[in-house]
Amino acid sequence: MSKGLEGLKHIVVLMMENRSFDHMLGSLKAVDGRIDGITDQMDNLDNTGASVKPQLLADFQGQLDPDPNHHFQAVDVQIFNGDTSASRQPNMKGFVKSYYNLRRDTAHSQKIMYCFKQKDLPVLTTLALEYAVFNRWFSSIPGPTICNRAFAHYGTSFGRVDMNPFDIIEPFKSIYSRLIEATPKRTAKVYYYDTTSSTMEVVNLLQNQPELFGTYKQFLQDCDKGSLPDYSFVEPNFNDHETDEGEELASDQHPDHDVQAGERLIAEVYMRIKRNPNLWPSTALLVLYDEHGGIFDHVPPPPCSPDHFTAPANATGTGMEFKFDRLGVRVPAVLVSPWIPKNTVVDRVFDHASIPATVTKFFQLGDLPRSPRELNADVFIEPNVTPLDPQRNLLSLDAMRSDCPEFGV
């Protein structure tokens, strides 16, 4: 048996916005060759035919304005470089082309290849090197935010590849409903930052089940009191706004919001869990990004088993229907727990459907109707049952680590 899994009571997911793996963590290849980051062998061609390589020149704010296009049609260009033939293969050569289409500015289009230096992201890179970093965590759809986040909540986007409101289609249920309706009853909460930032899950969850929601301030209090629910989904601050307590800077890292504000949010969530000696051993924290935001990554998204739904050609904008049979672009994902060996690198394939899949299996919610995509998604925390496959269990240490990093926030 695994001591880490035996004592695990809480799963916390913090989902940030719109940054690719190579953009945020690609520099770590130079630190640890097992991490599948950037090399000099990668490039895209700009509109003059010149080779543009990934470079460690990313800045916290001001470079990715206008916001890179990450709607389905644009991501298709980024992945396939505009090839629409039946025999096309993903080559990740169309990022500069896609960004050029927005402003028709050659120099500006090259910035889509910029990546952060390790020292610029002390929080995310430290967590990646200290705990488990996923080399193959892909967004669920080669498309934008709302449908990708839907996979984290429902294990499917119900056939949507866009940003429009959607309805839940029976028999599938949100992971929150599955938990609170379970026997024995489980607990779940979505913590949005505050009512001025609100949530990206308005039409189904907020509108119909507002009792599921708490604020980030409540999350911090729940960490201190040790009263976190079994499953917590934390949303960052999506906009700059004023409150009675002062200015609140957007912390979602969506371009062109300040990346450093997101670093502080990640550090604060981590430290708040770590500072409670009862919570720290019994909590696993997953930090990840909803999609790549149109920013360069070099790993072609793999094909996958199709979903129950199909997006028609007029919805994809590519002239082709989409059967949800290919994952989206790779995103940063790090799993944190004091039971994970330092410097763990995971090569198995995951996407956001892995979140409800993992929570459903870990909390043993039973044989519920789930989307084909979720049923085929791998889990990042093994169910605490016998026999346990030690090769798959990431919380594998016999004794809790005492050398875990701390951040000054």
Binding site: E17, N18, F60, Q61, D67, P122, V123, T126, P144, T145, I146, M163, N164, P165, T195, T196, S197, S198, T199, M200, V202, V203, L206, Q207, P210, E211, F238, N239, D240, H241, E242, E247, L249, A250, H254, P255, D256, H257, D258, Q260, A261, E263, R264, A267, D403, C404, P405, E406, F407, G408, V409
Partner: protein
């Protein structure tokens, strides 16, 4: 292990006058979708097609989010009031019966 410093963002980063991005635009539209189902007394007077900046979007987002919570809280309050009233109807009957016995 030494504590790792986390730099604070520049004070210049704050810009509620920044153009609304496609994510906030979608969030506003989702909230309007929800707002249309609210009773009239909970609805905002903000015209979403005139929203241009993050600060303007933030104001609408707050108003509708709070309205959704209030509409649900009010409905729960009404439900409790009805339940109490229903219990109140039972009590007088019991009293009548009891006083009847006394006679």
């Amino acid at each position: 292990m030494a504590i790792i410093p986390v730099p604070k963002p520049s004070r210049k980063s704050m810009d509620p006058g920044r153009d609304v991005n496609c994510l906030l635009r979608a969030q506003v539209e989702h909230l309007q979708h929800a707002e249309r189902r609210l009773p009239l007394r909970y609805r905002s007077s903000i015209y979403i097609h005139a929203i241009r900046t993050e600060g303007e979007a933030a104001q609408y987002i707050r108003e509708v989010t709070e309205a959704i919570h209030k509409a649900h809280a009010d409905a729960i309050g009404e439900r409790k009031k009805r339940a109490r009233a229903a219990k109140g109807l039972v009590r007088p009957k019991a009293k009548v019966k009891k006083s009847g016995r006394g006679k």
